[in-house]
Symmetry: C2
């Protein structure tokens, strides 16, 4: 990890520094290793602290570094490929599903969700909370919104909340014939409750996956899933049986 002639390069300094640092991470550091402190790094590369900090921020956004309070800056493991393809055409909660039901409440939905479902803003919806675990880590938290009309025979006598209630809602939903589903991915910031489940700070950048489930000619349920953006890359395979890692050989080792 020698110094390079940063002066002669036309691109922004922090950008070139980022590239140099990225190469150094590949060659001189291993996953989990703690980087030297900012002062030392700035001196080593002959750049101002502000330039260094910009480069470190970029590398954090790209998932190469993790900065944790009390630990410092460490080399991040490669992002996990987490499959979010729609090729399976199944309801949430069917066998093989990687989500764990955590809770179910009856609550008002955000305006955007009500619009997608065509329900009134004041209409409480069954709200199933689920957590997705991959390689032993929680990678995503989900709220699945189900209007009462989609689960008309939901037994009222069962537990009013909790995982048992969640499973009951999912079971009733599966009685409907699923016609199709679609999915969208966008950038968001972690809500306080999701952040806690995902071991992130509130407001951390997350990837928000919105899924609409269509049955009986209408939107029968909407899922809003929040994925950690630092550790996950969302994969969309071409077919259900195509199991491919999106990382190169080096990633396999982690």
């Amino acid at each position: 990890m020698g110094t390079t002639q940063l002066e002669t390069v036309p691109e922004p300094k922090y950008w070139h520094l980022k590239t140099v640092l990225s190469e150094a991470l590949d060659s001189d550091f291993s996953v989990g290793e703690i980087l030297p402190n900012e002062r030392e790094l700035a001196a080593r590369f002959g750049v101002a602290r502000a330039t260094l900090r910009q480069a470190l921020e970029q590398l954090e956004l790209e998932g190469r570094l993790q900065r944790r309070r009390g630990v410092g800056t460490t080399v991040a493991p490669p992002r996990m490929g987490v499959d979010v393809g729609t090729s399976q055409h199944t309801w949430p909660g069917t066998p093989g599903d990687s989500w764990k039901p955590a809770d179910c409440t009856t609550a008002l939905a955000p305006a955007a969700v009500s619009r997608m479902l065509g329900t009134g803003l004041q209409e409480p919806l069954h709200t199933v909370r689920r957590i997705r675990v991959s390689h032993g880590q929680p990678v995503a938290a989900e709220l699945l919104y189900v209007p009462a009309a989609s689960v008309p025979e939901l037994p009222a006598i069962e537990a009013p909340s909790g995982p048992a209630r969640a499973r009951s809602v999912l079971r009733e939903l599966q009685r409907l014939g699923l016609e199709s589903q679609d999915r969208a991915v966008e950038l968001g910031s972690a809500r306080a409750d999701d952040a806690k489940e995902l071991d992130r700070l509130p407001g951390a950048p997350v990837l928000v996956v919105t899924t609409r489930y269509f049955a009986a000619g209408r939107t029968a349920a909407v899922s809003i899933a929040t994925y950690r953006a630092d550790t996950c890359r969302l994969t969309f395979g071409d077919s259900g049986d195509l199991e491919i890692s999106h990382h190169g050989p080096t990633a396999q080792a982690s």
Copy 2:
């Protein structure tokens, strides 16, 4: 947009403020409208400037606000749904494709791309640069990496670079039988060249879509496309003919 009793709420102040502001954006502001300055907003909601700034940052990350130098903070239009589904099984550059070839060079690929293609780190690849325009705005910039082995009959006599060369590489690629493709989405930061094309600052958060094209039993090409995270939500339809907006009725107007 009245004040609310921020003191009595258990969640972080900026978070609650964000929710209140978000509702105010829906009810009291229209798209493109400039928000009052920070001092005025902080006074109106009875919060510290730092709290306000945190809330504004969150809303920017969520695509509700845009902050531009010299303009101030404006209400962002709803994000555009941009289809990135893999259901069509076509090579890049086939008719109906929403990408415009801009250039083609021969260059070394990033290490991660070489790994995916199984090419040597020192092997120069045809690198096609394309821009995707949606609703009159550039929404994404792409680098498509094509090893020489995938386009063995590429006429050497044609232009060595530029859009003509790009079209020539795409045409040769289409001679191969496309077996399958897969796609991954992750968070990234805009490179300086992409940022310029997309009218963003270098380092701005972007959604990076990596596509691998498989033909003749191997990875024949790799595309790395950088989408604006502030204006785009990436949609993955269930089927090619399902044309659905992911926004509610209010979004249709924009």
